[in-house]
Amino acid sequence: MNKKVVFEAKNLCINAVRDDGSELSIVKDANFKVREGEVVALIGESGSGKTTIALSSLGYCKPGLKISNGTTSLFDQDLTSMGIEELRQIRGEKVAYLAQSAIATFNPALKINEQVTESAVIHGSKTQNEANEFAKGLYHSLDLPNPEFIGARYPHQVSGGQLQRLMAAMALCGEPSLLVLDEPTTALDVTTQIEVLKAFKKVIRERGAAAIYVTHDLAVVAQIADRIVVLYNGDIQEKGTANEVISKPRHPYTKRLMQAVRPLPAAGKKTRLNKTDKVIEIKGVSAGYGGDVMSKPKEIILKDINLELSRGEVLGVIGESGSGKSTLARVIAGLLPSFKGEILLDGQQLKPRLEDRPRSELRKIQFVYQMADTAINPKQTIGNILGRPLEFYLNMYGQKQKNRVLELLDMVELPKEFFTRYPHELSGGQKQRINLARALAAEPEVLLCDEVTSALDSIVGANVIELLRGLRKNLGVSFVFISHDLSTVSAFADSIAVMYKGIIAETGSVHKVLSPPSHPYTDLLISSVPELRVGWLEDADKNIQKAKNLLEKENIS
């Protein structure tokens, strides 16, 4: 209680200035404090203003935003009244920032060490040599491989997880009193996320720095935060110690957030399936990139894949990035022709190449992309987007087409007014629903869903899964549901295929796959899913290490 206040926001209001000069309130009257050695989590969904608030602690607003009222202060110094030069002295020196994507925030043209040390050197707190030594120490404590030499590399030469940790080093090199971490683990695979989280926690504790941790993931917050501030639409809804907020949420919004947290991986409800009615059979398929069409590719991604999908079944495909799960979907869709093996649709062999497949076959398999932002054409109205498959596959025109589009909108729980709107007028979740509706318009037998929820906030994602469940029940469509998120998959799928380095590591019903003894990689995945309880991180570590060791042995043999 008596600890010194490092950062304080008082009645902070931040507005966005539109092109026409009108203003939109982004942060409304926010008040909170960060004390020495304390980690305060700002939690909320996209658009809640959490990043905006976090950045205000560096005296910074994104272009187009401005502080309209209130103050932010660092060690009782008012940041809002400082000039650019004064702010420059503080940034990097007293307060440091860690962004969501290290790949984007590292300058590709400069060596890592220069970027890590430059802030400290420029602010004069260290000489270049001191900074170099200090950085090496940080690399050690962040468990980076090759700490002596990693700094001499360029950003593209190290992995994403390492880069994320290097960004922590970059922030810590100036020994700041306040760290601002903006979703620093969100872009990472589950297994990597745990490692990075662990490293962050370790250095924060070691250095005794205060931190503002911005995230939408309650489970992550539970592992690292001392206090939690819950935001919605620029307003603080609830704040308190981590324990209090997580164990006894009081505000309805906080409660909703808690509900949306993915349940632990467990077998979902059993659906009765006719296992003999196969929609898709994949037999010995191999595929890869490079080289000529139909000949053996230069880089093989998928090796000898065998899978089956019954009518009405949901097959979850899980694995980390690079495991080949998206490639599998592309092979089924015909975007990437396989060079070996065959795929059967309703017992009929599919041509490997998309161009060779008849329209009737194309209609039966529909692809749903991960990023709704890029998957729907920004220059077409929703009516056009949804109408096109209708006229293309089903020869449906005019009023009939329009009626069907409205039905589809209804089916994905969107209002009819959306018919004439453009995609940019919709929110992320709504776009993803349009994305789904477009696939459904074709009246397909199989939906290939590629990470359809991973770009969405937890509540929105949960809603989309709910929608999928309903559709499946009503329409009897089969799903190939690709995700890196074991909890989502286990909640929705009937069976699971675990992919690891281009092969199917394990496959079977959800129950079978999730219950031990399983493949060590599955084990690793299961134990890496964070639980919503304080102290899980430390507990999980043992299991994760065990799984990792097993996996290594497996690889060797």
Partner: protein
Amino acid sequence: MSNNENNEDKHYVAPFSKEVSFDELQDAPPSGKFRLSITGKLGVIVVAFWLFIAIFGQFLAPYEENDLPFPDDYSEFQKPRPGAWLGTDVDDRDILSRIMYGAGRTIGISLAGVLIAYVIGVTLGIGSSIAGSRIDQVLTQFFNILLAIPTIMFGLVVVAAVGSSIPVLIITAGAIFSPVVFRLSRALGMEIMVMDFVEAAKVRGEGYRWIIFKEIWPNAAMPLISDFGLRFIYVILFVSSLSFLGLGVQPPLADWGSMVRENLGALQYGESVIPILAPAIAIASLTVAINLIVDDVSAHAGGKLSGRL
């Protein structure tokens, strides 16, 4: 709201009502529909003015392009005065009328030339970007070769071989500028081709026509339009460079480039500089106006971060 030290550390719950649903928030409004800045609007006004003159100028002009306002006066480059509001030119003709006649010719030639360049460049560029690597390589290599040939030299040889006439100028300009347009539209096409929505159309089984006209074109249009403006300026410059070498629009036909050219020599000794500079100012006003619009179109995004330095 006043929060003292003690309040701050207490568990805080904002007031709420049961009705509030806490729905998903709308995405931040898009950085906006395209709107013109003040300078952009000024540009539009000037361009519109010149387009009007280009179409109707020859009907509104006080004289025909080679008429003499003062037949009994043998002195050129007279000061503006009633009867010749912008003065007279090197051959004692009315500059105002010639600018009005020239507007149609200059703008017409440039517009037609750029249109040809765009028809060739965009068709082949976007076609190349979706046609697959073989055709793409051949086309790219071909246009690279054309790019390597200096424009003015190319124009010179063609015009010298077949003679200078307005259709020849238009076609030559079109041919000269098509490689640049090709390169641009190919790059744009490539960029859009890898977008998921194009792939979605492919997975749907759409043919090239749909992909080109419904998926790629609407997204490529804006950048292409902004380049169109710049290209237009370059064609004006190209034709006036040819005029300098005696190969452009042939006098006595009025066109701005050759008007600048034929009057320029008198800058040292002409009685009034207004008629001498008027055609140059016409070119400058049109091109600057186009640029102002182009800047607005292309600066839609960009340059915002450096304001935070």
